[in-house]
Symmetry: C2
Subunit: 263 residues, 2 copies
Amino acid sequence: MNTDLSPLATPSPAPEPAGPQVAPAFSPLYQQIKALLLRSLQSGEWKPGEPIPSEVDLATRFRVSQGTVRKAIDELAAENLLLRRQGKGTFVATHAEQRTQFRFLRLHSDLGHLDPSGPAQRRILSCQRLRAPADVGLALGLRAGDTVVQVQRVLSFQDVPTILEQLWLPGDPFKGLTLKVLTEHQGPMYALFESEFGVRMVRADERIKAVAADAEAAAGLALAPGTPLLSVERLAYTYHDQPMELRRGLYRTEHHHYRNQLS
Amino acid sequence: MNTDLSPLATPSPAPEPAGPQVAPAFSPLYQQIKALLLRSLQSGEWKPGEPIPSEVDLATRFRVSQGTVRKAIDELAAENLLLRRQGKGTFVATHAEQRTQFRFLRLHSDLGHLDPSGPAQRRILSCQRLRAPADVGLALGLRAGDTVVQVQRVLSFQDVPTILEQLWLPGDPFKGLTLKVLTEHQGPMYALFESEFGVRMVRADERIKAVAADAEAAAGLALAPGTPLLSVERLAYTYHDQPMELRRGLYRTEHHHYRNQLS
DNA sequence: GAGTGGTCTAGACCACCTT
DNA sequence: AGGTGGTCTAGACCACTCC
């Protein structure tokens, strides 16, 4: 009904003064609910891994029907921000679970499904704070002179160094990130970001090219210069499409491949 | 209600004899409706680009509520098999539209959004029927000795040969596919497959590696041997996860990149 | 105005999990 | 038994498109 008894703003039925209307900007109720849920997620009211209130609770809180809340949650679940578990509740998605452990890593072994399930040895090469290079600052939406944390690391599969990557994070939200913290932490790096810095990576774009290994890459991955490598540049976003990480990786693909699903 | 008045099989409430139950295999009504819609799509009862019956029509036909039909269609639309257009109807998705023209081609220009929107010159190098090589036959689920159609072509962007690819199709469904047909056809190849052979590619898996151009690739793309190239191997499926095309492509990435979205 | 998909509601019942 | 998400229904109304 979109009745005005609702606590929510109901933009469309409001009789606006005549004039050049730009766009009616009709927004369904469930979209408004979705935005409210998103705000609670971003503010940390509900933390990764924890359950959010039940559908009936939310329905009474927002003064809408359960079906409307349901549709809002459906969309958030489809975007992998929430996780529904029948009989138990709805939970804030996290990178700290076995199931979603390597959701953003698309490199798989050519052999059977002996994928990077073997947790892949990680070695941190460096972690330092510095002024953002121009391209990095631009990608992360920082101002000139802002500081970033730069991390370099190597991932190995079965003792073969396979991924050499470099990543940049905005200095402000990642204040306490040091080599010690990174080295001592177990589990996925994105899980560390969640638990220690309250930053949850929600989606990412990747750009992939084929390049020849230069001297530095050859040294880092212990292979001959000129070897073809996948260059994977990732820009990862947190809630509300805010860029939070730039990552540049070089992948060996003699025995691995980058897997993608099209639909 | 899942009542027995329904014309559909209602597996779960059927009182089965006691014994070692394997799996209750509860299947919601809307999933059964979805399967029926899928069957009509596969059989060609509704063709790509055409509208399917309205939700109310389908609801009365299947003796269920509109909401149940709606949920079935929702899922098919989410999988890009159907396309909803408010006020007009629901249509069978097709590769012959501007909007979905290059849905499966992930190579983009490094510059602004001057992507492969420029329709990219296509040149067919060859088209021949031959016995399926072992790996191809395996991927396509063919029997030993079955014939396949093999096509080779080059795609150029702004007169620069950029993609060299080779593809194999099962000989049986693609009986009349000749070099003449391929050369004279305008528009995406997958649109040709739909209109001339009734085969609609629904989803695909890609495996990506970095390789060095060999002599043949160097000749085909007019570049120096050893140049790093993206190797993209695609297995494309039609309805019901049936593999229908194997494609191996080599992409130049000096001025282009393969784009991927993670979520 | 008629037809289509899109939203919203209220209520019933089912399947799954915990206690 | 009681709570949670999941399914299904019936009906009302809204937004969009076409005639």
